[in-house]
């Protein structure tokens, strides 16, 4: 793969795939861009006209926008915090030899295979329901007032649900990282007089840093666009208490039939996502260099 000739033919060979992917990405992107400059409401078809930046002005000055932005950040950070810390903890436990290890590992991974809509519904109706939910029963058992999670702490509840879904992913990646840790390093540090907590801090965590980076990068991409869990549980409410950017765009373009405004929101979301990506790569991407 090193000669000029082979490089040239390699380029030709992969070009169909690259062109396909490029088209796949560019066409919707440019259409969104185009729509975002139009006054385009589905209730008034055929009345589209160019309005310049008006859509952006309305989207960015909408008080819901800042609420959604804050909620998005809280949601992403909250879930990352829970999954990384919980994942490290679970991976540590699962790495220990114990009876029934294989089955427990499969059980831990199971939530990842449940569709977001399904898991959100299960959480909403079976656990968090203030009348019939398991939590409500638990509260009543202790003589407490049942807590209406989705009404009183909507964002925290959604963070909980989404964390539950992503914890297996983090656990799995961190577990493999733990298993690739050279046992002799741990033994060496043990002989060097490091108690367990220092071995964890100085040897295990640095070894995990690369895996944690991967977890953060991949999860951030998916968490920025959490949608189904919100749609199924709180519908973004009460008010805008659990509306994130994705959900706001959905409301704009499909509930209010405002394609132009929704597209402008989409473009804003793309820009924000890229800012986050650059920021992340700057901050932790260097962990990935060998």
């Amino acid at each position: 793969m090193a000669t000029k000739h082979s490089r040239a033919s390699a380029r030709i060979m992969i070009s169909p795939a690259v062109i396909l992917l490029l088209g796949w990405m560019l066409i919707p992107l440019s259409m969104t861009l185009y729509f975002s400059f139009l006054r385009y409401n589905l209730l008034m078809p055929g009345m589209e006209e160019f309005t310049g930046l008006t859509n952006y002005k309305y989207f960015l000055t909408d008080p819901a926008f800042f609420a959604a932005l804050t909620n998005t950040i809280l949601l992403v950070c909250g879930v990352l915090l829970v999954t990384v810390i919980g994942g490290v903890f679970l991976a540590l436990l699962l790495d220990q030899p114990f009876f029934g290890q294989g089955i427990v590992r499969i059980l831990v991974i199971a939530p990842f295979f449940v569709m977001p809509t399904v898991s959100a519904l299960v959480w909403k109706n079976m656990f968090m329901n203030p009348v019939n939910g398991l939590f409500a029963h638990l509260f009543k058992f202790f003589g407490l007032e049942p807590f209406d999670f989705l009404a009183q702490a909507p964002l925290a509840s959604i963070i909980g649900i989404v964390s539950w879904q992503w914890l297996p992913f983090a656990t799995l990646i961190l577990l493999t990282a733990f298993q690739s840790l050279d046992q002799e390093q741990l033994e060496a540090s043990e002989m060097d007089g490091a108690p367990w907590i220092k071995r964890f801090w100085f040897i295990m965590l640095p070894h995990l840093s690369r895996a944690i980076t991967v977890v953060i990068l991949i999860q951030t991409i998916f968490l920025l666009s959490v949608f189904a869990e919100i749609l199924v549980t709180t519908n973004g409410g009460p008010g805008t208490a659990s509306t994130n950017l994705t959900y706001l765009i959905y409301m704009q373009s499909l509930l209010q039939f405002d394609v132009g405004g929704g597209s402008a929101g989409g473009v804003v979301a793309i820009i924000l996502a890229n800012i986050v990506a650059i920021f992340l790569m700057r901050m932790i991407g260097k962990n990935l260099d060998a």
Partner: protein, 334 residues
């Protein structure tokens, strides 16, 4: 001070007894080498001493004090691992400083010891590199540096040179020997290479299947191996071991004769043989000679270059004063 005593120490993994009860004393300042074939329990024994494995029975005493239940860090021993076990995300300086940092040693004392170790081990130019940016030999030296700065009562080495190439191995062998002479700290060294054992040890412990076959100085083991196993294991090339008729002539079950104790002649001698492969080392030449009626070819040493070629007929005469005789149990007959 670094006197280690093993008293009826045994180790079993589940049902498998890897080390049957065993007694051994390692004196202060001694360079002791555990040697034996692969899987004989050398590493396990070393790890028992280090405290990385729990003993199944018996007692380990360090400087006269029972250390059987003492955690590894408190035993005052430093270990150098076969894979070096350096911390990859720390610089060489931080690697070496790690044990001192764990012991909360004052910073200036840490720096002083790091400088001293780096100078002794030729690492001064590499202190700010990561282990990944070092060669195998340099990594080995960092691992040794990390052990030295703790100023332990004894060093434990588990095949520290087996990842290095032949030339480097000889160099590091000398460096470790020199280090021992300088520090006069007890060293316990595990290897499967009997040349390393012979050249470095004050005392060799030959192990087989977890049992101690013989303990003694390299020359003691070479001159008077206690049994057939030690006779065959110590010495390179191997001692020639003969059984059957030839051994019965000397009223033994097995007899052994080292390659250098066989005289070569072109016209007369005890055994008549045909020259097979010869290995020229410059200073010596080793001939593999097939003798009629013997199971294996004999290895014979000749000094310098000798004009003998493949297929030549030669006569061999063993030097009977250096003949080793062993009985049916494989034990030496005095």
């Amino acid at each position: 001070m670094g006197r280690i005593t093993l008293d009826k120490v045994s180790k079993a993994f589940g049902d498998v007894e890897v080390i049957p009860p065993l007694d051994l004393t390692i004196e202060d300042g001694e360079f002791v080498v555990f040697v034996g074939p692969s899987g004989c329990g050398k590493s396990t024994l070393l790890r028992l001493i280090a405290g990385l494995e729990d003993v199944s029975g018996g007692e380990i005493r360090i400087n006269g004090q029972d250390a059987t239940q003492t955690p590894p860090a408190k035993r005052g021993l430093a270990m150098v691992f076969q894979s070096y076990a350096l911390y990859p995300h720390m610089s060489v300086r931080k690697n070496i400083a790690f044990p001192m940092r764990m012991a909360s040693m004052p910073k200036d004392e840490q720096d002083r010891r790091i400088e001293a170790a780096a100078k002794a081990l030729n690492l001064t130019d590499y202190l700010d590199r990561r282990p990944g940016q070092l060669s195998g030999g340099q990594r080995q030296r960092v691992a040794i540096g990390r052990a030295i700065v703790r100023e332990p009562d004894a060093f434990l080495f588990d095949e520290p040179l087996s990842n290095l190439d032949a030339a480097l191995r000889v160099g590091m062998r000398l460096e470790i020997s020199e280090l021992h002479k300088r520090l006069t700290t007890t060293m316990v060294y595990v290897t499967h290479d009997q040349v390393e054992a012979m050249t470095m040890a004050d005392k060799i412990v030959v192990l087989q299947a977890g049992r101690i076959e013989q303990v003694g100085s390299p020359m003691e083991l070479y001159r008077t191996p206690r049994n057939v196993f030690v006779a065959g294991f110590i010495g390179s090339p191997k001692m020639n071991l003969l059984t059957g008729l030839e051994a019965e002539k000397h009223s033994a079950t097995t007899i052994g004769i080292r390659p250098e104790h066989i005289a070569i002649s072109s016209d007369s001698g005890t055994w008549k043989g045909t020259v097979g492969v010869s290995e020229h080392l410059g200073s010596d030449t080793f001939f593999h000679v097939t003798v009629e009626g013997f199971h294996d070819p004999l290895t014979v040493r000749a000094s310098g270059e000798v004009a003998l070629y493949y297929g030549d007929t030669i006569y061999l005469t063993p030097d009977l004063t250096h003949l080793h005789r062993f009985d049916a149990q494989g034990l030496r007959i005095a």
